[in-house]
């Protein structure tokens, strides 16, 4: 029904079920990219000629669209980055290093683990990790214990977990963190494509955004920075476009947010096209997107449960678009190779979340991640292919 908006589906026979890794792009996003490169390709915020002014205007429109999209209070609270990984690295390096302790959860993906480890923080040495239950639920009791013992820490938690699609109750997490004077960053990599984000309602201090997981271009994302932190966050990289004055004797003064955080030439085409993906989502509406994904997930879950020896690690409840599983005595890698040959795109492995795989004592899972444009026939093809693969692999 929605696939007609996405040229990929007209050109590829692949049954695309790897939306957790990246999403397909609607024609309007592709058109905006082409328009920039073919009609007014110029640098932003520097040159004064007409095309450069159009580029700057379109670029800044994206900031305003994203501001309204996530209900940030001001457009200055939106800083463009290359994506969630850069957003988290930026905040870790430019703000998180001020804190003695960092609190993450055991369900985080590497993008929210490694930036902290680069500061030589490991478990028990400045890195505190919230436990999860056997069913992969966030352990609020343990979280509060860590907060109580370590007030004034920095907290960084995924909204929806990468490997299992588990939705965290972030409003409750943010509220608890704040009650112990802990600023908090939410990793929204897997959530912005699925449901409405209102950063003022959530009351988080930082919110990391990925463009390409939200039907936008690759290499573009953003970090929401609550205004009260603007002066406390240092520039991550410096150079042109971030600078107010440079004096070889006196040193440098920076512009205000967001420009002091956006040195160098940005992914201009990407930023400009990103807003088209947000407009596309608004046109479809989150209610429709969520309803569609819920229906697809219910169907996927019920069909998967009919397969022999399937192993799940969490319930369907509180899952957003992602179902992660294994089959007894079958290596996920074998399933991946055979499904690929049958034209089904899924992802297998540790999904950049090795710690939770280690906790579960598995090497990885088979991850099916849906988007609203998938349809029931995609799931039927997946199931019939899984059946064939299992029959080939079983003794």
């Amino acid at each position: 029904m929605y696939k007609k908006d996405f040229p990929f589906f007209a050109n590829s026979k692949t049954v695309y079920l790897d939306n957790g890794a990246t999403t397909q792009k609607p024609q309007s996003v592709i058109n905006a990219t082409i328009d920039y490169y073919t009609k007014y390709c110029s640098n932003t915020h520097r040159s004064g000629f007409g095309d450069a002014a159009i580029a700057t205007t379109e670029f800044e429109k994206s900031r305003e669209v994203l501001q309204k999209f996530i209900n940030a209070n001001k457009k200055e609270e939106i800083v463009f980055t290359s994506g969630v990984t850069q957003s988290i690295n930026f905040i870790a390096s430019s703000f998180g290093k001020r804190f003695k302790n960092i609190i993450i959860s055991s369900l985080e993906h590497h993008a929210n683990i490694v930036p902290w480890q680069m500061q030589n923080r490991t478990l028990g040495n400045g890195l505190l990790v919230v436990n999860c239950s056997d069913n992969l639920d966030f352990d609020f009791t343990h979280f509060e214990k860590l907060l109580k013992e370590n007030p004034n820490s920095f907290v960084s938690i995924a909204h929806v977990t990468n490997a299992f699609g588990k939705i965290h109750d972030i409003k409750r997490i943010v509220s608890l963190a704040h009650s112990y004077s802990c600023p908090i960053m939410i990793d929204g990599a897997q959530s912005l494509s699925g449901f409405k984000i209102d950063v003022q309602d959530i009351d988080c201090d930082f919110f990391a955004i990925s463009g390409h997981k939200t039907f936008g271009p690759t290499g573009v994302g953003a970090i929401y920075i609550k205004e009260k932190f603007h002066d406390m966050v240092d520039p991550y990289i410096t150079g042109g476009a971030a600078i107010n004055l440079v004096d070889l004797e006196q040193g440098t003064t920076f512009l205000n947010s967001p420009y002091k955080f956006e040195a160098g030439t940005q992914n201009i085409a990407g930023v400009i096209a990103f807003k088209e993906s947000l407009k596309y989502i608004e046109n479809i509406g989150y209610k429709t997107i969520q309803k569609r994904k819920d229906e697809l997930m219910q169907y996927l879950d019920s069909e998967l449960k009919k397969l022999p020896d399937i192993i799940f690690y969490n319930d369907l409840k509180d899952c957003s678009g992602t179902r992660s599983f294994n089959f007894k005595d079958i290596m996920h890698d074998d399933i991946s190779i055979l499904l690929d040959k049958m034209g089904i795109a899924i992802r297998v492995g540790h999904h950049c979340a090795q710690p939770i795989m280690n906790k579960l004592k598995i090497k990885g899972t088979i991850r099916v991640s849906l988007a609203f444009y998938n349809d029931f026939s995609d799931i039927d093809k997946l199931i019939s292919s899984l059946k064939r693969a299992i029959s080939m692999l079983k003794d």
Binding site: M331, D334, I337, D340, K341, M392
Partner: protein
């Protein structure tokens, strides 16, 4: 039989299948035929680098020849291990030292396995050559 002749034989076997999934069924069957591999040898130093799945490879010297034994935790890769062992095991050390072939190209494996899995096959041959050079 020379390594070159064995490669030709395997290539003939693989080319026999018109339907791609039938080729996989054949490789999976080869994987199931792979002799048991002692768990005591599934240690880090016997791991082959570059494999998406884990592959262990050991060798035994008998006279002027080397014999190889291996396994994987994935059945399709086990089939590939079977093929590699079939080609290189029971070869003279001198012949193994001279190995300089693009096995992916020779066997048309690029149609069978993706680039990140191809590096595992290349890793196996590299380890075989290393064993030969040290023998």
């Amino acid at each position: 039989m020379s390594i070159k002749k064995r490669v030709e034989n395997i290539k003939e076997d693989l080319e026999f299948f018109d339907e791609e999934l039938a080729k996989y069924e054949y490789i999976i069957d080869l994987g199931k035929k792979l002799p048991p591999f002692d768990e005591a040898n599934q240690i880090p130093e016997n791991l082959v680098h570059g494999c998406t799945s884990q592959v262990w490879l050991i060798h035994e010297k008998k006279g002027d020849k080397l014999f190889f034994y291996g396994t994987s935790d994935a059945i399709i890769v086990k089939g590939l291990v079977y093929i590699i062992l079939d080609i290189f095991s029971d070869s003279t050390i001198d012949e193994l030292k001279e190995i300089d072939m693009d096995i992916i190209k020779e066997l048309n494996l690029s149609e069978v396995i993706t680039p990140n899995r191809q590096s595992g096959v290349i890793g196996m041959i590299k380890k075989i050559k290393e064993y030969a050079l040290k023998s």
